[in-house]
Amino acid sequence: MTVRERLREKISAAFYRHGLLCASYPVPIILFTSASILACCYPLLRLPLPGTGPVEFTTRVRDYTVPSHEPQGDLGERPDWYRGPPVAYIQQVLVKAAVSPWDSTLVPVDVFRSPLGRVFSLLEEIRNHVHNDGLEALCLQVTDLLPGLRRMQTVLPEHGCLLVSPGNYWQNQRELFDSDPDLLKTVHQHEPKGLHTTATLRDLLFGVPVKHTGVSLYSRKRVVTYTITMVLGSYDARFLSSLRARLRQLHPSVNCSLREDQMVHVHFKEEIGMAELIPLVTTYIILFAYIYFSTRKIDMVKSKWGLALAAVVTVLSSLLMSVGLCTLFGLTPTLNGGEIFPYLVVVIGLENVLVLTKSVVSTPVDLEVKLRIAQGLSNESWSIMKNMATELCIILIGYFTLVPAIQEFCLFAVVGLVSDFFLQMFFFTTVLSIDIRRMELADLNRRLPAEAGMPLPKPGPLRPREAPPPPRPSPHTITLQTPAFRNLRLPKRLRVVYFLARTRLAQRFIMVGTVIWIGILAYTDPAGLRTYLAAQVSEQSPLGEGGAGGLPPHLGVAPGFPGPGGDPASTLSVLPAPAEPTPLPENQSQGHHGAPRDVPLQTQAPPLVPQISWGAEDEEGWRKLSFRHWPSLFSYYNITLAKRYISILPVIPVTLHLSPREAIETRHPQDTRHPPPPSLKTNDLPADLTLYKVAALGLAAGVLLVLLLFCLYRVLCSRNYGQNGVAHGRRRRGDLPCDDYGYSPPISEISPLLLRGHSMDIECLASDGMLLASCCLAGQIRVWDAQTGDCLTIIPKHGLRRSSSSGCWEQRDGWDAMGVAEPENLGGGTEPGGGVFDEDEGYPLRRRTTPRPALFENQPDLTPLIDTNFDSQPPSHLLLTPPRDGFDFGGLVERAYLEHEPPSRSLGYIQPPVPQGQGTPDWESAVWAMELRGNLIAAGRSSGKLELWDAVEGSLRCSNEDGVSGITALAFLNNRIVAARLDGSLDFFTVDINKPLGLLQYRGPPGRSNMPPSPCYSSEDVISCQLTRSVQCAHQKPITVLRAAAGRVVTGSQDHTVRVYRLEDSCCLFTLQGHSGGITAIYIDQTMVLASGGQDGAICLWDVLTGSRVSHVYGHRGDVTSLVCTTSCVISSGLDDLICIWDRSTGIKLYSIQQEVGCGASLGVISESLLVTGGQGCVSFWDLNFGDLLQTVYLGQSSDGQGVRQLVVLNNAAIVCDFGSELSLVYVPSVLEKLD
């Protein structure tokens, strides 16, 4: 034994023990695992949540020095990004300009033309300001714009100082400005079309939000605001203060008391742009496809979705654990988590989980759950360990690439792999054991009789049929017929959808989510929201006479900023003051500290004197801009602000007052053409625009939602109803379904039990659950125990077998004692004398049978007559039919047609002393139909004779020879036997028991089955069988099908009609017409629902109570060969090898299964959801709910095409089918086991 094998054994044993442990104590283990997951994830709480919003930090201007690169421990309040010099310093000069006093002769353009015109002189002033060295030395020098921005070349500066102002629209040239006929058009032409989310050029150049610029024809305040933004590369306090002083001296702002002592550093997070998002999204799509395709392979478990969820949870929590553990040990992740996450998942993979599931599922079903888990684990232990070791090796190799990023990735992957292994072993294995146990429990619940499952099977109030159906004959098919229970059968996913629809869960969830979202929005961004609200309210406040007096106080507090810059005093000052219309002298800049932004009385008519006021909101006006404002300005020059910061210096206020005369002088000739402002209502134009944006976004979201729901629907309802479903190729032997891991579904435990003994093909098969009677072409009837497969009785009693050479019957036992037999035995089996009879019973031995199959067609089947054994055939013919000479096929055929003729008993024959003297057995004619009830076998012969045999003792109890036409079908119900004959007549027999009591209960413990007191006859009873009624012309043509249930007898015939008789008085109730071909299949059950299928491929559903046709569907090309119903669906198979499953109540085809050629003539339903079909040498089990092939059981070693023609479902969840000359007893173990 090599080391490798020993290791393998040890690993296997360890896994086995571990599996036992997991399956034995599921709850403690799951609790332990959850606790360890939570513990490992705990360090994650300290990680900052990802966000792209900028972070601010405020310092004082006075003692500002450029922060050093080294982290300084003493300054605790400093954020860690505040190191090194900033990318740039931003110095804004905030200009507020107004033409005052306002003259009625002025046109609207005058509001902004001359104020804007002053920007050029200001620019000149700034550029030429020289303190130590000029602006050129200090400012941030920029180079080319990005190649994609050629159209902005005329507007944005290139190769020089980054200095932007509205003057850039006119290339900073006064002449261009003066000659521009339409300023607004120039401004607008650079705006992007449609919706824009980032900073626009107008925002960049004006430096204030569009709404606040006042550059509009309809401005009411007539104050123009703009900024000149200088971007400085280095900080020179003296230059800036001298510039500030100079500007203040030139353009004093008297009432301005803006704070000038604080500078704000803004740190930008990494931006995720569209271009970066696309690959990320792609990787995530690939990841989800991977997860989807992986989890799709999980099957044969109770809850597929539950296990898939568990698998995903396993992988995700192992990732979280790895990140948490790495954080715990001081390895802060520097990689972008979102980017590497998909690759980590792919590296860790779901394979192990799937392998585990498959391994466990493919263990024998009849084992205990614990053992199954343990066995499955230990089967896979070696490959799991091997894979794990390989992956660790690969990752280790990756670690030695010495690239920091890859090393970090490998570290994460290693920790992730280990934690994933841990979770697989503990979490997933336990979940799997719970799932498998649930599956077994569910099976148990389903298979148990209703008495065990339900306390009282009270009749449902909705029961549509009048009579409560008598108890079903077998325990496992007991199902509640109440329609209210019908939805129990629905597929699980549909049930989930119904549940969602019923409770409106999704709707409520969305509503709650919306509320929470709004709450979070209001919580995290109170400033923006309140500012917006306050702005809205204050703009519309003129409605109220008292202005802000009428405002709710919480809205009035508004536009303060949470930044450290806002001081309480200025915040208060922004409050719209109580109405104090203060007409101020003209030449003075109006307002004082805290002047009202908007004087309510003056808003009714435009103010004559535009007021320039300075408030706290002007202090940091850049806050009103989009937070992408600065990054986008810098990105035009290919400078990123991601993970860096800029410092924003306090603004320099400039107040400009222009006289009307100056305004008129700078007027362009075309300016007067503008129409006067139409009305005041245009003021809410921006609001409208916002509304449109919101509407468009909402629409997009709606469309997305609809698409999402559509996808969800497709995922949930993938079955194509009403189409020919997925073709399930029946798997051939040899390529049993093996997947890549070498697993095949458990087949070993379903091994068919072959019942051998018949010498020719089996023709009739009957069962009442406990006993099983079969009749072969040779006319031999054998009775088997359906539980054990033991042969109980052989009729005729002597073991006869057909000698291989002659085709005659050779006696095997019982003859040696009798000297009579000696000569014949010496004759080598070809003994000519046939008149041998048994002394014990006195039964004659049959010399020759005319094998005839049970007929379901109007012509007798002649195939058994063709015997190719020519050398032996003629003598036997000579013996049996003396008048004929030679080999005459015509005689054979004629014989087949004239079965009712008295058979020629050729040789000496002694009437045996039959104990009851009820008749003589007829050995010459074939058994065409056979039924088994209790321990009585009813056999209908081709000669028209009906015989009743004792199944246990093998004795003939009585026989009836009233009819002469061959019996094609039999029904045995209670004490009545119905026989259909070849000539279309129908005979009703009554079985009378003369010595009624003292019945011998052969049939097992009585509590096991809830069958009706079926006739069990002891051997002492005298049984007589009398013809009570004979319906001579029941049908015009031969009767093909005969079924009896619920006190009704239904016959189907070649004459296209179905007739319903009452069993008690043999009265014909209905003649059902609707088929356009002969009837080939009929199904009737206790609920009086009748289904019939014909040669036209049609299936009709009838109500037996009223005789009305419920539905009529065409499903097959060719004959319908077999029909079975469950409580909710009808299953039909046809000559076209298609199995169709129809909804029983609506008649809609649910789906169909395409089978191989020559399959599917026989059908059986084991339980509500398990269908079994017979094929070529095999039987297949199907899940009715989904149409999936569960399993194919091969009956024999050689898969030569012996078709399964008959298939009987026994009530101990076994099926019996004929397989050539053998019977095959197949137990369905999962069903079988749960019965006990």
Binding site: L146, P147, G148, L149, T198, E271, G273, M274, A275, E276, I278, P279, T282, T283, I285, I286, L287, A289, Y290, F293, S294, R296, K297, E339, P342, Y343, V346, G349, L350, I394, I397, T401, L402, V403, P404, A405, I406, P631, S632, S635, Y636, N638, T640, L641, A642, N720, N724, A727, G729, D739, D740, Q1154, E1156
Partner: protein, 233 residues
């Protein structure tokens, strides 16, 4: 920018997540050549898609932050690169199952969609690593990528024909890229090996393996459909 477009030329490969949704529609079509065309078209679209996406990944290496209209410039410049990649991927994807068939050794290793998805994800990851991770020098980068590519082949393919075809196609593609760059159709911003990037063959190889994987899976799917159809008929 020209560099990035050339770089994208290497991704003659693609992913297959579009394939299974078309199943029922394929079943309608009986003609064998039609399915071939459909398969080729699917491979083509996958190749185009991956070329665009991975091109974007490469662009990011050179430009750190995008103004809003960089994306449009990507689509406008060198329009013929994605179609070339698509065509190449279609050819490769059809070639692999064909060669398998000719050699008579059908590819049985890990034939399932989840494995294909994993392969595509690893391929994108290799591209990601080449674009995003900072390596000390180009030799290290090339060696790492080569190891990753071989690992990809070992994990998902393991067939000699796949390896051989991958190497041959990778060499051919590198040669043609070399010719293109030499003739001045393109240039790289930082070529390190005779006008081109030295890690290019590794990426080509990984792409060929991935694309072959998808092509084989698609062919398998079609094969199944065909056999089922014969059962139905």
């Amino acid at each position: 920018m020209a560099d990035s477009t050339v770089v994208s030329d290497q991704q003659r490969s693609g992913s297959g997540q579009t394939a299974p949704s078309r199943g029922p529609y394929i079943a309608v079509i009986t003609n064998r050549s039609t399915t071939l065309v459909i398969r080729g078209f699917m491979l083509f679209s996958i190749g185009v898609f991956l070329a665009l996406v991975l091109n974007l990944l490469q662009v990011q290496r050179n430009v750190t932050l995008f103004p809003p209209d960089v994306i449009s410039s990507i689509f406008s410049s060198a329009w013929w690169v994605p179609p070339c990649c698509g065509t190449a991927s279609a050819i490769i994807g059809l070639l692999y199952p064909c060669i398998d068939c000719r050699l008579g050794e059908p590819h049985k290793f890990k034939r399932e969609w989840s494995s294909v998805m994993r392969c595509v994800a690893v391929f994108v990851g290799i591209n990601h690593a080449s674009a995003k991770v900072d390596f000390a020098n180009n030799v290290q980068l090339s060696l790492t990528l080569a190891a990753l590519s071989i690992g990809l082949w070992w994990t998902f393919d393991r067939s000699r024909s796949g390896f051989g075809l991958g190497v041959v196609i990778a060499l051919l593609a590198t040669l043609s890229t070399q010719l293109l760059v030499y003739n001045g159709v393109f240039q790289y911003t930082s070529p390190d090996f005779l006008y081109i990037r030295s890690w290019l063959p590794c990426i080509f190889f990984a792409g060929v393996i991935t694309m072959g994987n998808i092509g084989r899976q698609l062919a398998l799917y079609e094969c199944k459909l065909m056999s089922e159809k014969t059962h139905q008929d």
